[in-house]
């Protein structure tokens, strides 16, 4: 779609000069447009891969939720849905700031790219911070699968002791909880430094309306991570 790119590019072609001489142009491509399309296609293919990667865990989730419905409900009640809700809003917010960063990049507004990216990083970090709080609490409450799972902990209201016969199936729920949210968090932990790097390059003026593919690609990645959470929130926190 080189035509589309030309139509929507905003006046910087002149500054950039001919596509083939753009500093970021890799010469094994036919043209800069071709290079950008390839990069974007590559990212999409990567995301298709990511879908399947999470898919394995979701499969396990579906199965065990059907087998141990009671335990899943019980386990989810031990989570703090308000924190999950808060995080959902934060992460969707970060998706919006990310989209705005791409938007600014497409308009060639350098400082704005940096600003939006920083906002995204900030929101992402808030999300991870909340996750840390949640995880720590689970550790203290003996909700980490293993020998001590579900045992009473210091300062526990004895009424809330986990019934002995709930320990096993609930452990399956928490295994999935940690695996799914952990893998999701890992994706963010990988994403944030990349965002930071791109913000740095943006600051140095690497991106223009004509070429800002890296911003777009990291945007796609970030949105994907957001989508995963959109499913995780109701599946893990809100079970009846």
């Amino acid at each position: 779609m080189p035509e589309a790119a030309l139509q929507h590019g905003h006046g910087e072609e002149q500054a950039d000069g001919h596509a083939q001489t753009h500093p970021r142009f890799a010469h094994h491509f036919e043209s800069l447009e071709n290079q950008k399309e390839s990069a974007s296609l590559g990212m999409w293919v990567f995301l298709a891969q990511e879908v399947m990667f999470f898919g394995g865990l979701f499969m396990a989730y579906i199965l065990y939720r059907n087998l141990y419905h009671g335990a899943f409900e019980y386990g989810s009640h031990l989570l703090n849905w308000k924190l999950g809700f808060f995080n959902t809003i934060v992460l969707i917010g970060s998706s919006v700031t990310m989209a705005m960063a791409v938007h600014s990049a497409a308009l060639g507004q350098r400082t704005r790219i940096v600003g939006w990216l920083l906002a995204t990083i900030l929101l992402g970090s808030v999300f991870l911070g909340v996750k840390v709080v949640e995880y720590t609490e689970k550790f203290h409450h003996n909700l980490v699968p293993g020998e001590t799972f579900g045992l009473p902990y210091e300062g526990m209201d004895p009424h809330h002791a986990m019934p002995d016969n709930m320990r096993r199936p609930t452990q399956v729920y928490y295994s999935l909880y940690f695996a799914m949210t952990g893998l999701h968090a890992l994706h963010m932990i990988i994403g944030i430094p990349i965002l930071a790097g791109i913000a740095w390059f943006a600051h140095k003026g690497e991106y223009s309306a004509r070429f800002h593919t890296p911003v777009e690609l990291v945007g796609l990645y970030w949105h994907f991570v957001d989508i995963v959470w959109i499913f995780l929130f109701p599946l893990l926190y809100l079970i009846h």
Binding site: N34, S38, L41, V45, F53, G146, R168, A179
Partner: protein, 539 residues
Amino acid sequence: MTTTSTGAERRNYLNASEGLLSWLLTTDHKRIAILYLISVTFMFFLGGFFAAGVRLELLTPRGDLLEADTYNKFFTLHGVFMVFFVLIPAIPAILGNFLIPLMIGARDLAFPRINLLSWYIYVLGAAFTIVAMISGGVDTGWTFYTPYSTIYSNSAVLTAGVGIFITGFSSILTGLNFIVTIHKMRAPGLTWFRLPLFVWAHYATSLIQILGTPVVAVTVLMVAAERAFHLGFFDPRVGGDPVLFQHLFWFYSHPAVYIMILPAMGVISELVTAFSRKRIFGYPVVAISSLSIAVVGFLVWGHHMYVAGQSAYAGMVFSFLSFLVAIPSAIKTFNWTATLYKGSISWQAPMLYVIGFLGLFTVGGLTGIFLASMGLDVHVHDTYFVVAHFHYIMVGGAIMAYMGGLHFWWPKMTGRMYPEWWARVSAVLVFIGFNATFFPQFLLGYLGMPRRYHAYVGEFQVLNVFSTAGASVLGVGYLLPMVYFLWSLKYGEVVGDNPFGAKGLEWQTSSPPPVENFPEQPRVTEEAYAYSESEVGHA
């Protein structure tokens, strides 16, 4: 285009720059292919070493050569190395890497640095697995069935699992690179239906690599987490279902067998046409059948689980689809055969491999039909019948095709010819040795000898002796090329750019090709395999 002679003197990708570093930091797909060639060959001999150990142990019914645990580690490492580190990368990462850009008239793959990265990932994964091998080995079988792998095994499952997890990403990135390259970097005029079938086959393969591999990656991750952190996914003690692991594992590992065979089929399509100087019979059918194998191949994984407590109804669905997925393979086989009709058939070594492939793949595939039959598989499941089936396809089919392809493109890659006579000897040795090794295993399997048996009951011995004897011939058959390929690097005849008179775009540049592949952007004006007389004769 370019004139023949003095092939080695001209500037090419091999002599463009020097020093180890220029290889380790290269982003040239051709050099990366060579890096893969070296590492995969290494892993092949490692896997072969363990196969030799297995066969020697099985010479006698009693477990006398190896300890039971050692034997278990031997076949596990054999399977792991051969599947994940040899056959899955062999054709795509070596031949595919080298040839796809050449075949489509591109200067490189779309993401050369990612290409190099995937080699490093491969090496890292291999390193982990080798560490696992040294630090106690792995004894779970290449299938890593739970709960054995998660709870009971005392071996280095974690390290090996991490190795496989890592290598998976090498495979994914290669697939990603191919998909984008094939979509976006074809030379002008090279429409989809002018693509060489090798490229089609790799396109289909890449789909599986991308959509299947992540599932096995996350599955071994779950096994690792279960082992290391006591998370409970498959652990029956906390209510997990071990059979879920099998679903997830085979969801990848069945399609993975097509990762191994599809590129081999691509090679065969190229070789059949080149050595019969004839257009492929039924081009569109052969092309599309690759895609249908890739897609339908995702629907049949449960045929590994007929006796694993899977429901009979799911079994029926899987069985039905397994039969369906055999049809495109049958179609391909018939089309290759028909291509030979009225050809101008040369009996050079690569063609011998093609003939071997056609025979052995047919046997392997047809015995797949036995296994897909639910009622029959109940008996032969997890016996040597299955072992024979997959060696027929993987060794007799895929490795044969790989060897044929390696011979065929050897002059392209190195500028020098392999010694024809020796190559024919080795092809014949492999064929004979192979059949002697694995045919008896069909009989053993039907008689009921279970696989993964360190010791076995006496009445199975005769056939096992045959098998071991055959394996030694087979081993020689594989050692020979190793020797003469190395020899030919220095002493091989320097041949022209296109010693076989083949048609593909890759033959229209010099051999070995220059770094930029083509001095100028090639344009494609005709269909693939335009060998026949109504077309312009070959140059």
